[in-house]
């Protein structure tokens, strides 16, 4: 089996034959485009998932795993990850250590003192974990397939006549966050609408600047930085201005070189609806 075989992703072909051809090192010219490796790694939920994949792919017996072979294959992936200059998640490294430990313990003779007790296979704990994880994986899949409110069916509901309700709905921070989490879980469907991580306070300062520009049409750039602003606040404020310019919400102008910069709302005067 070559590295290329092992690294060939998801669309797995038949079963790779397991015959103990040891793999000593990765060919140095083996190039995996970082994006491909990324996709590949993202498709695993962690080291257990990767191990299960290797076991199933090679039709190894989960109750009698050939540790040497499994460890070798696992290490090949781990090496490949490092070649991609990716930071290895700690979990993958921990698992590598576990595998090597089991492998080495299997090489040692069992001390005679232990023979009276039931012989403990060093692989037992790993096996249990793999089986448990596999069960959960299947259960997760079955849960996914079950008819679910909001997808296969929806709750039917009638409204309460507005005229009867004087009270306004109450909203808590928790409700707001819940709503946001729900937005996120829906967003995952539309891959192209990807929202990058962003600092909330930048948005806040953007709003503040806009409000200020609504009151005074032109504001000197420097006036947007209050005296006594701490450095982080000033930086955030500055990023907010850049962001506003980028999104074409404000203009930054200068009459001549080295003249003061002025910031104004982009285009027409704006009226504040309150």
């Amino acid at each position: 089996m070559s590295e290329a075989d092992i690294l060939e992703i998801p669309v797995t072909q038949p079963i790779a034959k397991v015959n103990g051809e040891p793999i000593s090192s990765l060919p140095t010219d083996l190039y995996i485009p970082p994006e491909a490796l990324e996709v590949f790694l993202e498709s695993f939920e962690g080291p257990l998932d990767l191990l299960l994949y290797l076991i199933r792919k090679n039709s190894l017996d989960i109750l009698d795993i050939p540790m040497a072979e499994l460890t070798r294959q696992y290490m090949t992936y781990v090496e490949a990850m490092r070649h991609g200059r990716l930071e290895l998640a700690a979990e993958y490294l921990v698992m590598a250590a576990v595998l090597i430990e089991i492998k080495s313990r299997m090489l040692l003779p069992v001390p005679p003192a232990n023979t009276e007790e039931e012989e403990i296979d060093p692989r037992a704990a790993l096996m249990r974990r793999l089986l448990e994880y596999e069960r959960i994986k299947m259960a997760a899949h079955e849960l996914e397939e079950m008819p679910r409110e909001g997808r296969e069916f929806k709750r039917a509901h009638a409204w309460v006549d507005d005229t009867l309700v004087e009270r306004l709905p109450e909203v808590s921070l928790r409700d707001l966050q819940d709503a946001w989490v729900l937005v996120l879980s829906r967003i995952k469907m539309n891959k192209h609408h990807r929202i990058s991580r962003e600092q909330l306070s930048v948005r806040e300062y953007m709003a503040k600047i806009l409000k200020r520009l609504n009151e005074h049409q032109f504001v000197a750039f420097m006036d947007l930085f209050d005296e006594g602003m701490s450095v982080p606040v000033a930086v955030v404020n500055f990023i907010a201005i850049l962001e506003l310019v980028k999104e074409r919400m404000v203009n930054v102008s200068q009459t001549e070189a080295y003249a003061p910069l002025y910031v104004s709302l982009g285009g027409e005067p704006v009226e504040l609806a309150s």
Binding site: I9, P10, V11, T12, P14, I15, S43, F44, E45, G46, P47, L48, D49, Y53, R56, S59, D61, I62, L63, A89, E91, M95, R129, L131, E132, Y133, E134, R135, I136, K137, M138, A139, A140, H141, E142, L143, E144, M146, P147, R148, E149, G150, R151, E152, F153, K154, R155, A156, H157, A158, W159, Q177, D178, V181, L182, L184, S185, R186, K188, M189
Partner: protein
Amino acid sequence: MSVDQSVAQEAKKLIEASILVAEEPVNMAFLKKLFVGQFEQKQIQQWLEELQEDWRGRGIELVEVASGWRFQSKADVQDKINAVNPEKPPRYSRSVMETLAIIAYRQPVTRGDIEEIRGVAVASNVIRTLEARGWVEVLGYREVPGKPALYGTTKQFLDDLNIHSLSDLPPLMDLQDNPNEVALTLPLEETIGGELELIESNETHLNDTTLSSETT
């Protein structure tokens, strides 16, 4: 019929309306209060069943779920509505679904237990997503250093999957009992994405003992 026809008519009208305007499924205790103890549970139950019958053949059906009675759309009708509605239902990643499965089948569990089973750290927003959906809640805290929260599934989780109790969940496969079977049935061409096929055989029933004892 034990009561007057028009009384029954009025009562069913009220039951129907109260289930339709309620935010949550409506339970028997609520319905009894609605009639200020005027009718027995048996009578109310009968009306519910009659209502269920009245709605047969419509696009909406009256069903009883874990926390009570509610109206919900039938799958074929919902299909047609979904086709028009551009708003897609949320889709949960594998980490979310696996975490949900662990909580559902192994509850009560701590985050540490979940990490132990999955072999990876659990991002806090995975659990947050499940909490926001109202499927998972903190049941208590384990009496160990750090007092980690113990998570379990909610009634709403059962309601949203249209089941009455945890024992209605698909049973966990007992792979260990029958390893050969597993080896044969597990599709080897499984895509890494985890499209496992369902295996119907050798299932153990999820019962209270499984729930309480088998952590880790």
